[in-house]
């Protein structure tokens, strides 16, 4: 059986040879990829927006805070006012029905007599 160290050496040799045989178009694409990656470093202006992201985020948070804390512009009835409105709605409005009012006045008179 092959010694592990000898096997490892042989395996590495074979892989190195395989790598050395990479076709020209593959090597060319790898070179292009490397240059494209390095271009990010050499052209920081491309990533100018990265510098403003924190400030932009802070500005966005400030605007959101203003929207939240400024509150709604339309008046909203308070719960107390709501109850008064409901209470008024439940109360009978005799003024709207004159005929019933005359009847109740007659009935009250009959009761008293």
């Amino acid at each position: 059986m092959t010694d592990p160290t000898e096997f490892e050496r042989r395996a590495r040799e074979v892989l190195e040879e395989s790598t050395a045989r990479l076709p020209g178009h593959t090597r060319s694409r790898l070179t292009q990829a490397r240059h494209a990656a390095l271009a990010q470093l050499e052209n920081p202006a491309r990533n100018w927006w990265r510098s403003y992201v924190p400030a932009g985020a802070a500005a966005a948070v400030a605007v959101l805070a203003v929207v939240i804390w400024s509150g709604p512009t339309q008046p909203v009835a308070s719960p107390v006012e709501d109850m008064e409105i409901l209470a008024d709605a439940d109360a009978p409005d005799f003024a709207e029905d004159g005929e019933d009012l005359e009847f109740y006045e007659w009935a009250a008179g009959e009761v008293e007599s």
Partner: protein, 205 residues
């Protein structure tokens, strides 16, 4: 909006001494990165090729790893670049493998899908053919084909450990960093990879 004004002010201040120093640092880093990436790009491609079994995917994985290293880790010490780069590459390979698995499951349900249409890595087909040539070269061709098939079929973690330790030459600590695991795990994966490969390639090697 005050923050915009502040940053704009910083960048607009005339300070030529600082700018020249910054440019020099940038050039130094750029040269160092260029040297590093050119030293690893071919082996990185081979590692990605064995993991993904597809040349185009392997090229994409290597380019992504280069981009991310430059974007996020250019300012780190030079001796950290190698394990960082291979960590990024390993993550990219794993993500592609997972996407491919999901895509394969979805495609399998579609009518008319022919799995034979999928590109497959065939090291034998890609090995240079020699109708006649030195016996040594032919022997090497066979060894390359057999080894690449065997390595490509290793479980992912064993494959990573073997390629990073044996092929790329990272030490145990660097390999653990690249794989995101303990040194003990690296040793276990590597040992098992060797055992698997020796069992398959004992006659060839």
């Amino acid at each position: 909006m005050t923050a915009f004004v502040t940053l704009a002010g910083v960048y607009n201040m005339p300070n030529f001494g600082v700018e020249r120093s910054r440019d020099q640092d940038l050039m130094t880093t750029s040269r160092a990165l260029d040297q590093f990436l050119s030293s690893v790009e071919r082996r990185a491609f081979k590692i990605a090729q064995l993991g993904l079994r597809n040349d185009d995917d392997a090229l994409d994985a290597v380019q992504d790893a280069m981009m991310k290293l430059v974007q996020s880790y250019a300012s780190r010490p030079v001796d950290e670049w190698r394990p960082l780069f291979y960590r990024i590459l390993a993550n990219g390979i794993r993500d592609m493998q997972r996407r491919r698995t999901v895509r394969g499951r979805i495609m399998a349900w579609l009518p008319g899908h022919d799995s034979d249409d999928d590109e497959e890595f065939d090291p034998i087909a890609q090995a240079p053919s020699h109708d006649a040539g030195p016996a040594k070269r032919l022997e090497l061709d066979e060894a390359i084909g057999a080894l690449e098939i065997a390595v490509a079929e290793l479980p992912p973690r064993q494959q990573q450990a073997f390629l990073l330790r044996n092929f790329e030459g990272l030490d145990v600590n660097e390999t653990a960093s690249a794989m995101g695991c303990s040194e003990g795990s690296v040793k276990t994966h590597y040992f098992r990879a060797l055992e698997n490969l020796r069992a398959r390639l004992g006659d060839v090697f």
